[in-house]
């Protein structure tokens, strides 16, 4: 039997809109946004007029990770991060905690233990 099909890593395809157009040339955010970090909509905050891509991100981001938002909006991860960074700075979205370089060993330990319990019952 042959190994199961695995999609190619690399895909070439033309993009209709250049990424830097969507992000107004910006490539970095002030907020650290890990791929697995999850977002929550901030209740009671009225959204200002947003660009279409930003509105798309806002619509799908609640309880999802940065990577999921990128996948669902079909925007590259870097663009997604810039747009999410804006929404966070505008107070529309909040980022939930993940392990970072600043995480204490106790917090790390607690997270791995919770993960292990969850996996065993999964």
């Amino acid at each position: 039997m042959t190994p199961p099909h695995e999609p190619e890593d690399e895909v070439y395809r033309p993009r209709l809109i250049r990424s830097y157009t969507i992000t107004a040339g910006r490539t970095a955010t002030k907020v650290e946004l890990a791929m697995e970090a999850t977002l929550r909509l901030q209740p009671g905050v009225e959204a200002p007029v947003l660009s279409y891509p930003a509105a798309q991100v806002l619509e799908v981001c609640d309880r999802r990770s940065v990577a999921e938002v990128s996948a669902l909006t079909k925007m590259p991860i870097g663009v997604t991060r810039v747009l999410l960074g804006d929404l966070i700075e505008q107070g529309l979205v909040r980022i939930q905690a993940t392990i970072t370089d600043n995480t204490s060993t106790d917090e790390r330990l607690e997270l791995i233990e919770r993960t292990l319990r969850g996996l065993r019952n999964y």
């Binding site: 490539t27 590259p76 991860i77 917090e107 993960t115």
Partner: protein, 198 residues
């Protein structure tokens, strides 16, 4: 009440485990076997002239490529989600690995015994970064089975690195590999605490 809210907000709400290995070794299969959603795909832009850093700074004169990463999701508790990220296989996309691995619990290096040499680079990467990893030999039907010690020796694995075999298509076995890497990461962390305390 306020204290509880603050504590709940500080506790990590999500985490990740990285699935690495050579091209076609079954990374996506493993992710698909345990994920509660159909695996999703995220992409990063790469300019061919400057690999890495300027993920977005794709000026029109440069040819751009995209590198794709597949991932899955497991909701482990009401307040905890685990993501599984497959690494891009090709070596020139390795700059993405730092992004993928930052904050990860650990990594599973999937190995195909017919192409052991493809595992050397991922193993070196995790060892050099101090990221806990285990080796999982993906046994497709009809592939000759070798004793774990022989494979460990061929890969020059440090003695403490766990090595298991699995069928990446099997949900329970894939889950077993996730339990194994998490247990190993926990053990490593506790060891460090003991060393630091002495």
């Amino acid at each position: 009440m306020d204290f509880e809210t603050t504590k709940a907000q500080r506790a990590a709400a999500s985490t990740k485990i990285v699935i690495a290995g050579g091209f076609g070794v079954g990374k996506s299969t493993l992710v698909g076997a345990v994920s509660e959603i159909d695996p999703l795909r995220t992409e990063a832009l790469v300019t061919n002239e400057s690999e890495g850093v300027d993920d977005l700074a794709a000026v029109p004169t440069k040819a751009t490529t995209t590198v794709a990463m597949d991932f899955g999701r497991l909701t482990l508790a009401e307040d905890l989600v685990l993501y599984l990220f497959g690494t891009p296989g090709q070596r020139r996309f390795w700059f993405m690995w730092d992004d993928l691995c930052r904050g990860a619990i650990g990594a599973i290096v999937l190995v195909d015994v017919a192409r052991l040499d493809e595992s050397f680079s991922p193993l070196d990467y995790f060892e050099s970064k101090g990221i806990p990893f285990i080796v999982a030999v993906n046994e497709f039907d009809g592939v000759p089975r070798y004793p774990a010690e022989e494979i460990a020796a061929a890969l020059a694995l440090p003695a403490e690195v766990p090595i298991i075999s699995l069928d990446a298509r099997d949900r329970e076995q894939a889950k077993g590999a996730l339990v194994k890497i998490t247990e190993y990461a926990l053990m490593r962390l506790r060891e460090q605490l003991t060393v630091n305390a002495n």
